[in-house]
Symmetry: C2
Subunit: 329 residues, 2 copies
């Protein structure tokens, strides 16, 4: 009997990762190509075609490709299109599911990266067995995937989970969307940097950060500074952790979830971010609420996590189809 | 053939309304009794037993009672209990579903009033045909019922939809929960009153409100003042409408709903509340988002709306059972 596999593709603004993933979340082969975000999408699709060919040749066991799952910015599950993605210049509406299906000959499902992460955590990660949770993706931006009663919420237009666009501070920081004070401008790698530079103005403490430009001082640099005890960097993590707790408390009030899962680069800051987050959560929640809520850190490590998330989407749709709950479009 | 009916019960802090409702949302008979909130629950149950008897005698056509639906504060769908309701003094956990089932001999389902309103709107009201929406109940407090893909979200502990407990203004107004700045302290009849009295301090404009105590000046009085052009009262409605828009914009970002339905006393303030709300929504949302989002006012008028909502809950569970999707507990 041949092994059934899914092609998982994670399209980022710079690189696209892809891999063949089995039912147990094991990547049989994987690779990375340039997204060619600023060129015509035909460049991307021809590079992708070559890469998919190579991926399949790399697998030594007999297998059947059953479908493709894609995680991409502004990807709409319902339409199969990437719509108005701010970091891709392929056009306003790109029918990426059709493009990829034409290459592979198998059905393709797409969703945004945060939703793919949520499904990945549910099928292969720390959310196994959980029925209602929110995955917060703490990367360059802030995203979320919401799972209720075991089902990911796609929303009416396919864009549910935009917790990054929720207003956290009225009249606060500006954002490319034009909104003011949205959560993403505070709780993200970029938000951490903005907080640190605000603090340079507000607080006179000595800091190595004073010799760096904003472009030089990324979140990873701030992490290293904070670990060495730099007061400004530490305070920036503190503030970010406390703001994260606010978003978690509001999500709990609205959705009555059993767990929050933190995913992405900033989640690796561990105690620097999590200690102030827990302190603030205890302040915002009742003792019972705090005790019941589980805050988990994604254990999907390394480059394959995004591929696994994308593949999990397709596995989920296929499982639902097998049980008759959903017919693929 | 006898008519199938549901007993719908809406338990409030002061009065309890009950009625027999058919599949089309028609109340065949209805009445109201005192909730006896400060006495032992056995008082309430014996009064309820008499009332249910009388309700059934009032119906002139032959009928079969198929079940009971209850809307009540802090009612937990999963457990069938009222848990820590702040305005009922029947004990911490009251097994109200069991109490009522013992009276009627038919299955009973319960949920909180905002969730009952959401199901009522979906089955009998303005939300017919909608798949994803939020009902905001603008009463003494602020509640919400969230429907995604045609299903009400109950949450892990049965308490989803507590939009009133979401933080709207950090460090803002105090609340019995101990939280600061929660949405309920601004967007509700009580919130409107608090805003008006804050304005009396901040704004020197002449106002009839200056001769009234906070206890005298309820939301209905403020409505009458505003209609007569009182500057303070008008401004209070303006602010409340703008804050309502903030909650709606955040709900849209998070849940990607197609509609928001406003329910409850404050929703009847119409333009006084809705005009500033729409102005602010246009500021907060993109043109496309604003155009797509429908803000609807509940058309469930009169005393029966809460009964219909409670009955709709039971009708929904029974329909799901008939189609095999859900087995009653």
């Amino acid at each position: 009997m041949t092994e059934q596999v899914i092609l998982g593709i994670d399209i980022g603004g710079t690189n696209t990762k892809l891999g063949l993933v089995d039912r147990n979340g094991r990547a049989l082969s994987s690779m990375s190509i340039s997204t060619h975000a600023t060129e015509d999408v035909s460049f991307f699709s021809s590079y992708l075609q070559v890469a998919i060919q190579k991926l399949q040749e790399d697998v030594v066991v007999p297998f059947t490709l059953c479908g493709t799952g894609i995680g991409a910015p502004n990807a709409n599950f319902h339409s199969g299109c990437i719509e108005q993605a701010p970091n891709l210049y392929w056009g306003d509406v790109v029918p990426i599911a059709d493009i990829v299906s034409n290459i592979t000959g198998v059905p393709t499902w797409i969703t945004n990266d945060a939703n793919a992460a949520a499904i990945g955590e549910m099928k292969f990660g720390v959310a196994r067995g959980l029925k209602s949770f929110v995955v917060l993706t703490l990367g360059t931006g802030l995203g979320s995937g919401i799972v209720i009663d075991g089902e990911l919420i796609y929303g009416h237009d396919g864009f549910a989970g935009e917790v990054g666009h929720v207003t956290l501070r009225q009249g606060g920081r500006s954002h490319t969307t034009g909104r003011l004070g949205s959560a993403e401008t505070y709780i993200s790698a970029t938000g951490l940097e903005r907080t640190a530079f605000e603090l340079l103005g507000q607080n006179h403490a000595a800091s190595k950060l004073r010799t760096k430009s904003m472009v030089q001082a990324d979140a990873h640099y701030l992490y290293k500074l904070a670990r060495k005890g730099d007061e400004i960097a530490l305070r920036a993590f503190n503030i970010t952790g406390e703001l994260l707790a606010e978003v978690i408390a509001d999500s709990l009030a609205l959705l009555d979830i059993e767990a929050v899962i933190l995913f992405g680069g900033l989640a690796n800051a561990k105690g620097l971010l999590l200690d102030p987050m827990h302190m603030k959560l205890q302040e915002l929640l009742s003792a019972e609420e705090y005790q019941q809520l589980r805050v988990l850190i994604s254990d999907m490590k390394g480059d394959n996590s995004a591929i696994l998330g994308a593949a999990a989407l397709a596995w989920q749709v296929l499982s639902a189809t097998e049980t008759g709950a959903l017919t693929p479009e």
